[in-house]
Structure formats: structure tokens, C-alpha cells
Symmetry: C2
Subunit: 133 residues, 2 copies
């Protein structure tokens, strides 16, 4: 099938599909006119990539997952390791963001937000006041 059809089947933009071919994630056949010709397996792979990416796996992770997916003999522990590592990164990111959120909430709450120019947020950013108070 053409790239447009593969796009509809996989849910990925054509731009993204071409990019994935560029970096070697898929290798669709070519017709004599130069058009890409996607098999069902190709679009299946694209959908796999789409789902993996939407779960936040990096392209590098996706490459690994895809090769594991295509290796009928791999141990499930290999896959689990990739996912567990990703999970840890996510957990860490959440922790960071929550700390940020806590700090910002404090600042925003303390700012009266009216027409007066005095602002605790800027005071804090400028280093003139400690946040701890």
C-alpha cells in the first residue's frame, strides 16, 4: 500500500513514517515508480512504534523493543528490563516535577497578583528573598 494508506492504518503522519525509514526503523519496498510500498507487516510495525512512542519510550528504546519483538526466542526478562528502566525514568521525572510544582505553588500563592508592582515571585527569582519562609 501507499504511504498515505499506511499512515491511516498505523495512525502515524507520513512525515514521521518517512523519518522512521530514514533512521532505519522500517524498510518498506519500492515500486518501479519510486513510491514506497508498505506490507501489512510494515504497518503493523509502524503501529507498534506508535504505541511504544506514546508510552514515552525513546526511539532508541523502540529500536530495542522492535528487535526484541522480532526475535521469537528472546527472554521476556530482556523486554521487562527495558520497560522497568523506562518506568524508573518516568518516576524520577514525576518526582522532579512535583518538587517544582510545590515551589511554584508557594510562589504563586504568595503573590497577591494585583496592580501593585511588588511581587514575591520576582523577588525570589532575583535571589533577594529566601523561599523557605
Amino acid at each position: 500500500m501507499h504511504i498515505g494508506e499506511a499512515s491511516r492504518a498505523s495512525g502515524l503522519p507520513t512525515k514521521t513514517i518517512r523519518y522512521y525509514e530514514d533512521i532505519g526503523l522500517v524498510r518498506p519496498a519500492r515500486r518501479t515508480n519510486g513510491y514506497r510500498d508498505f506490507s501489512d507487516q510494515d504497518t503493523h510495525k509502524l503501529a507498534f512504534l506508535g504505541r511504544s512512542r506514546s508510552l514515552g519510550f525513546s526511539i532508541d528504546d523502540c529500536r530495542t523493543l522492535l528487535s526484541l519483538y522480532e526475535d521469537r526466542d528472546r527472554a521476556s526478562s530482556d523486554v521487562k528490563a527495558v520497560a522497568a528502566e523506562h518506568l524508573e525514568r518516568i518516576t524520577q521525572k514525576i518526582d522532579e516535577l512535583q518538587a517544582l510544582k510545590f515551589t511554584l505553588e508557594k510562589l504563586v500563592t504568595r503573590c497577591h497578583g494585583d496592580n501593585r508592582p511588588d511581587c514575591p515571585i520576582l523577588n525570589d527569582l532575583s535571589g533577594r528573598a529566601a523561599l523557605s519562609a
Copy 2:
């Protein structure tokens, strides 16, 4: 002062400081030999930028905050608006990541992670199984 000194005073790498000059966030004076010459106000501004960035404000946010910071007459509500918007983005990001975490945790838990090739994670990514179960 020289860029090295400004770097130590502000906590930003010299590369970052030059970059910030490039994009117009600071405009240090120049000596006759071409070296940048930072005033205390410049380094103060750099430190302001460092703190803002470390709170996750984008460069564009920083540009706004900096101009608000330098405008002695601005209303604190203007600043609060920028911070509140940022806070909302952070909250949203946290929500997204927590949803991801939930999904991934489910997958990882369900994968037995041994030497057998069958793996619920890949099954899910391939679209062959619903996660809901």
C-alpha cells in the same frame, strides 16, 4: 568582569552565557580587546535566568519575566499570570506522566520476566492484547 568570573558569580557555564547573549537575554559591554565585560547587574541578570530556568521556565518565559523584572511599574498580576500558566503546564505534565506510569507498571507487573519468550509487554505494544484486563 570577564566571562569566567561572571560564570562563577552566576553559576552558569560560559557556553550558556554566550548563548544567552546570542539570543539577546543579556548585552554585556565589550572591552577594546573584544572580551566581554560584565557588570554586577549583568551577572545578577544571569543568576535570575539560572533560577528561572531551574524552575522550568522556558527561555521565552524567562524573556518575559526578565522584562517584567526590569519594569519597575508592572503589576504583580502580570508576573503571576506567567507563573500560573507554567504551573498549569507542569500539573498537566505530571498527570500525563502518572497515567503513563500506571500503564507501564501494569505491563511490567504482568510480565513474568524469565527466560520464556512470551511477554505481555510486547503483546500489548503489538496491539494483540488489550491492557484493560
